[in-house]
Amino acid sequence: MNESAQTSNSIISARGLTKRYGRTLAVDNIDFEIPPGRIVGLIGPNGAGKTTALKAILGLATFEGELKVLGLDPARQRARLMEDVCFIADVAVLPRWIRVWQLIDLTEQIHPRFSREKCLKYLAKTKIEQHKKVKHLSKGMVAQLHLALVMSIDARLLVLDEPTLGLDILFRKAFYTNLLNDYFDEERTVLITTHNVEEIEHILTDLMFIQNGKIALDCSMEEVQSRYAEVMVAHEKADEARALKPMHERQVFGRHIFLFKDTDRATLARMGELHTPSVADLFVATMEGGEA
């Protein structure tokens, strides 16, 4: 995401982005670029600054530093920005008293790029009935309704903050299938935060880890494949592996699993079969102090 993206067509561009709450730095002087046509996973432990960063991007919080979203300043041009951005927040926020058809009417009145036709098409695939109130829908249905509304907006940036929290596995899978099938294309960009990294790791094109308000890792999934390697090594060879300065070491059944970054693959292959680390393993290694 770094080198190629220093151009003006970035969807999001941050320079020295900082957010303070009193004396606490929630986001600490971060730089990043997100080009169009990517699905970026923003991943970090609780309290790392993910939601704060998203709020700044959506113009919901003030910040220091430079931030451009679709070329606009989210703090000052929020109304204009919202024509091209939509989001689902982790605190599912549809009013409980409203009926489904009222919500569709409302969104149509508020949002210039909302398509009622599309929305009804999505809803037809669900069991959601239009005369029902939000409070009478199941949690999964509320998420489906929210996604139907959001995907019916012709936006260039979709921000999803823990979109599948509390949903069962069928709903989660259907959610991502809809996203890939009906929404995403090379003009659009999705920024997504989640704790369920395993289930989205193949969907992502790029990965961003955030820890203590700083970016701990920022690279494409292709780079993960080419730059990081895991090797399982027998006990006798562990010291040999350690000499190559792995980023992280863990033990499974008396064998050592080392995670290397930018280490010659031929050298590593002599110690054992190379594997690409899962996002979850890479995350743990990075959070436990390995310089990513």
Partner: protein, 127 residues
């Protein structure tokens, strides 16, 4: 379809290999259309870039062609080309290993053929 991927090869490569296997076993015939990138991405929960890359690798090997506005199609002669390259791979890589094993176990052509004839006749009996 089972969507298990192994972590020792890139996913685009594994997807390509699956498509190759489908051409070899005739599930995908010459002239057949491949499903769209979007469909495959949604079905297998992969990012579309991975799927495109996989399709591009098939194009590069001359197995699949892009028809403007229509999508991707299995080339005429793709199966023949694959069989030739798979035969070559077998003879160069798998056969020497198998041969090695045969020698290691003290087997030879006669004993192997005798075993084959033996199995054939017991198959015939069981029918």
């Amino acid at each position: 379809m089972a969507t298990q991927w192994n972590d020792s090869q890139p996913i685009y490569w594994q997807l390509k290999e699956r498509t190759v296997a489908m051409i070899l076993d005739g599930t995908l015939k010459e002239g057949d259309a491949l499903p769209s990138v979007r469909t495959v991405a949604a079905e297998l929960q992969l990012n579309p870039i991975t799927v495109s890359k996989s399709y591009q690798a098939l194009v590069d090997e001359g197995l699949v062609e892009k028809r403007r506005g229509l999508g991707m199609f299995v080339c005429e002669g793709a199966r023949k080309q694959l069989i030739a390259s798979e035969r070559n791979k077998f003879l160069k890589e798998e056969w020497p290993a198998t041969l090695n094993r045969i020698e290691q176990l003290g087997l030879n052509a006669e004993s192997l053929l005798a075993e084959l004839a033996n199995q054939d006749s017991s198959d015939a009996k069981s029918k």
